[in-house]
C-alpha cells in the first residue's frame, strides 16, 4: 500500500499537470475558431445530456492540423527551430566541454567554487539576463564599442536582431545544462586511465580523443538533449534578440495565440511541437538508462 502511494504521487502529478492540460490543448486544437469567449467551438454542454456529448465529439475535426500543412510558414518554422536548436546545441558543446574539462581537472578544493560559478547566473531572472544582451549586442552596445575602441572594426557590426544574436542568447542561457552533466562524467573519471593510455603509447592529445571523450559520451549526450529540447520551443530569446528573419515555432505560437487570437491553430501548433519533442526526449531517456546500466 505504501509502495503504491509512493508510485502514485509522481503519476498523480503528471496526470494533473501534464496529461489533463495536454488533453485540453488537444481538444482546442480539434475545435473551430469562433468569435466568442472562449474563442472556439464547440464547448462541452452537459445540459443537453447524451445528445450534447455526441454533438460535441461530432464537431471535432483535424481541420487545423491540415491547415498547418497548407501554409509553408509552419513547417518552415518547425524546421528552422530544429536547425537553430541544433546549431546552438553544437555551439554550447564547443563552449561547454572545455569549461567542464577545466573544472574536472581543477584542484579538488576549487571544484565547489567553480560549480557555484556555473550555477550563479540562475540567481538573476532569465528575462533580465536575456534583456541585458541587447545592451551588449546592439549597434551602440558594449561589444561594438569595445571592438571599435580596439580599432578592429570601423563600423558597428549588426548582431542584434539576427540569428547570431539568437545563437549567442541560447548558448549563454543553456550553457550550465551542457556543462553540468559533462562535468559529472569527467569528474568521475579515473586519472590513471589517462596515464595508462600514455603508457601504452598515446600522446596527450590522442589519449584525450581515445579515452576522455568516449568516457564522457553519456554526459555529452545528456547535455546536448538538455540544451536541444528547451531550445526548440524557445520564445523569449528569439523575440528579444532575433530579427524578422528569425523564424522559430515558439514565436509563431505566440503570434497565433495573442495576435491572431486563433486558439485552435495555436493549440495545433503546440501539439505538433510536443510530438516533435517526444523523439529527442525518448532518446534522452534511453541514454540515461544505458548509462545507469553501464554503471550498475
Amino acid at each position: 500500500m505504501r509502495r503504491f502511494a509512493l508510485i502514485a504521487m509522481p503519476y498523480a502529478w503528471l496526470l494533473a499537470l501534464f496529461l489533463i492540460p495536454f488533453l485540453i490543448v488537444l481538444k482546442i486544437a480539434l475545435s473551430d475558431y469562433a468569435l466568442s469567449i472562449p474563442p472556439y467551438t464547440p464547448t462541452f454542454d452537459l445540459s443537453q445530456g447524451w445528445q450534447g456529448v455526441r454533438d460535441f465529439f461530432a464537431a471535432l475535426d483535424f481541420e487545423n492540423f491540415v491547415f498547418l500543412t497548407t501554409d509553408d510558414l509552419y513547417w518552415k518554422a518547425y524546421l528552422s527551430s530544429v536547425w537553430i536548436a541544433a546549431v546552438s546545441t553544437f555551439l554550447a558543446l564547443l563552449v561547454g566541454y572545455p569549461i567542464a574539462y577545466g573544472m574536472a581537472r581543477a584542484a579538488p578544493e576549487w571544484r565547489p567554487t567553480l560549480l557555484m560559478l556555473v550555477i550563479l547566473p540562475f540567481w538573476t531572472s532569465f528575462l533580465i539576463r536575456v534583456y541585458s544582451w541587447i545592451g551588449i549586442l546592439s549597434g551602440e552596445g558594449y561589444l561594438n564599442q569595445f571592438l571599435m575602441g580596439l580599432g578592429l572594426i570601423d563600423a558597428p557590426l549588426t548582431i542584434l536582431n539576427t540569428n547570431i544574436a539568437v545563437y549567442i542568447g541560447i548558448v549563454y542561457t543553456y550553457l550550465p545544462f551542457m556543462i553540468l552533466p559533462i562535468y559529472a562524467t569527467l569528474e568521475k573519471m579515473d586519472d590513471s586511465l589517462l596515464e595508462a593510455a600514455e603508457d601504452l603509447g598515446c600522446s596527450r592529445i590522442s589519449a584525450f580523443w581515445l579515452v576522455t571523450v568516449p568516457l564522457s559520451k553519456t554526459g555529452i549526450i545528456a547535455g546536448c538533449f538538455l540544451v536541444f529540447i528547451p531550445a526548440i520551443g524557445e520564445f523569449v530569446i528569439p523575440s528579444l534578440l532575433g530579427g524578422s528573419e528569425t523564424l522559430m515555432i515558439g514565436k509563431v505560437l505566440w503570434e497565433e495565440f495573442f495576435n491572431n487570437r486563433d486558439w485552435p491553430v495555436a493549440s495545433a501548433v503546440a501539439t505538433v511541437l510536443l510530438l516533435i519533442l517526444v523523439i529527442p526526449i525518448v532518446l534522452f531517456q534511453r541514454n540515461e538508462q544505458k548509462q545507469r546500466e553501464a554503471e550498475g
Partner: protein, 382 residues
C-alpha cells in the same frame, strides 16, 4: 627464478661484467619540501623479478613512476640500457606499467584493451590480432575477449591488465601492487602465475608491494625501502636470514629483537660475540661477521621458528632461558608461543604442529625452556 641453465644460479648482480638494464644514479625526488626519494642508487638486471618493498609512503611508488616517466627525478639520472631516460616521455619508453587500479578502459572490450597499445604502434591488423590472441592464451582469457571490463571478475581484470601491459613486449614491466585487490587465496595462485609468465616471456619485472610475503615469493631480489631510502637490496633468503638492520629484520616476517651490549670473544676467528642483555641472565652467545667493540650497543634478532621450546633444559644448547607460556597463537599448521621471561621480555617461539592439538605438550602458564644455537640469530648495530 629464471635460470639460464640448471647448473648456473641466476645471479647477474654478482657478475661484475654484467651490464644492468636499469641504473639509478644518485636519484632524489622532492615534492615541494617533502623528499620522496633520497639519493637512491640501484641496479636492476635483465630478466630479474625485482621487488620494491616498503610501508606506504616509503617512496616505492614514486620510484616506479619515475621509471614509467610520470615523474622526473629532481637530481640524479636513471639509465635504461645505458641511455638517460629523463628526456623520453612515457609514451615513447619501452616500459609498460600495470596499474594498481588496473586502469582498464571501461568503454573497450577485453580484446580492444589488449590491442590498445599495439594499435598505437600502427601495427598491421593481422599481427595485432595474432599478438592479442597470444596474450589471451598466455593469461587464459580466450573466453572473455568480447566482454567489457565490468562484466568480468576481479581476478580476470587483473589478468587483462597484465596482458595489456605485456602485449607491447616491453623491455621492462612495472607492476604497481598488482595483487592488492585480490583475496588471499587468489593472490597466492596469481603470484605463481606471475612468476610463470615472467619466466616464459623473459621480461624484466619490477614489482611494487607492501606485502613482504608477496615480495619474498615472487622476487629474485628485494629492495627494502623506508622514508625514501633503500635500506637493503638482496635475495629473499639473505633479507630474511641476514637482515642489514633492525628495521629490515622487523619489517620482514616475525622476529624477536633483544637489546644488549656486545663483548667479542677474543681470537677465536669465528666471530663469536656474547651479548649481555639482562641482569642475572647468562649472556646470549651469537656469531657475527660485523666487528663489535666491547660494550657496544647491539641488537640480537632471532626468528621465532629458530627457537626450540622444551619441557626440560636441553643439555647441549648454546643458549637456553626459562620462561612461562603467556599466550598461544594457533595457526593450524604452526603455533606461536609467547613466552614471558623472568626479566619481563616476551619471546616468540614457533613450532610446527606435528601432533593434533589435543595432544599439545604445553599450555598456558606452563614453565618451559627456550633454546637456540649460536648461529641461529643475527647481531645488528644501530
Amino acid at each position: 627464478m629464471a635460470q639460464p641453465s640448471p647448473q648456473q644460479v641466476f645471479a647477474p648482480w654478482e657478475d661484475p661484467n654484467e651490464k644492468p638494464l636499469i641504473e639509478f644514479r644518485g636519484v632524489t625526488k622532492r615534492f615541494g619540501d617533502f623528499t620522496a626519494i633520497d639519493d637512491v642508487s640501484l641496479s636492476i638486471f635483465r630478466r630479474e623479478f625485482f621487488a620494491l618493498l616498503g610501508p606506504s609512503g616509503c617512496g616505492k611508488t614514486t620510484l616506479m613512476r619515475m621509471l614509467a616517466g610520470f615523474e622526473a627525478p629532481t637530481e640524479g639520472t636513471i639509465l635504461l640500457d645505458g641511455q638517460d631516460i629523463a628526456p623520453v616521455p612515457p609514451n615513447k619508453r619501452a616500459v609498460n606499467m600495470m596499474f594498481q587500479s588496473y586502469a582498464l578502459f571501461p568503454h573497450l572490450s577485453v580484446w580492444e584493451n589488449i590491442a590498445f597499445g599495439l594499435k598505437r604502434d600502427r601495427m598491421e591488423k593481422d599481427r595485432i590480432a595474432q599478438r592479442v590472441d597470444e596474450m589471451l592464451r598466455l593469461t587464459r582469457l580466450e573466453k572473455f575477449a568480447r566482454r567489457k571490463p565490468h562484466q568480468i571478475s576481479g581476478g580476470q581484470r587483473q589478468r587483462v591488465a597484465l596482458a595489456r601491459s605485456l602485449a607491447k613486449a616491453p623491455k621492462l614491466l612495472l607492476l604497481d601492487e598488482p595483487l592488492g585487490a585480490l583475496d588471499k587465496k587468489l593472490r597466492q595462485d596469481t603470484q605463481f602465475e606471475l612468476m610463470d609468465i615472467q619466466e616464459k616471456t623473459g621480461t624484466t619485472f619490477v614489482i611494487v608491494t607492501h606485502d613482504q610475503e608477496e615480495a619474498m615469493t615472487v622476487a629474485s631480489r628485494v629492495a627494502v625501502m623506508d622514508e625514501g631510502r633503500i635500506i637493503q637490496v638482496a635475495t629473499p633468503d639473505v633479507i630474511y636470514e641476514s637482515p642489514a638492520s633492525v628495521y629490515v629484520a622487523d619489517f620482514i616476517g616475525d622476529v624477536n629483537i633483544i637489546e644488549g651490549r656486545a663483548t667479542p670473544v677474543p681470537d677465536d676467528g669465528e666471530g663469536r660475540v656474547n651479548v649481555a642483555w639482562a641482569e642475572g641472565q647468562p649472556p646470549i652467545r651469537g656469531t657475527t661477521r660485523r666487528r663489535f667493540e666491547t660494550g657496544q650497543k647491539a641488537w640480537f634478532a632471532i626468528r621465532p621458528e629458530k627457537i626450540a621450546i622444551t619441557q626440560d633444559r636441553p643439555e647441549d644448547a648454546a643458549n637456553a632461558v626459562r620462561g612461562k607460556v603467556l599466550d598461544i597463537a594457533y595457526l593450524g599448521n604452526i603455533s606461536t608461543y609467547h613466552v614471558e621471561l623472568p626479566t619481563g621480555h616476551v619471546v616468540k617461539a614457533q613450532t610446527a604442529n606435528t601432533r593434533r592439538i589435543a595432544r599439545r605438550a604445553f599450555t598456558w602458564e606452563d614453565e618451559v625452556w627456550l633454546s637456540w644455537t649460536a648461529t641461529a640469530g643475527v647481531l645488528l648495530e644501530d
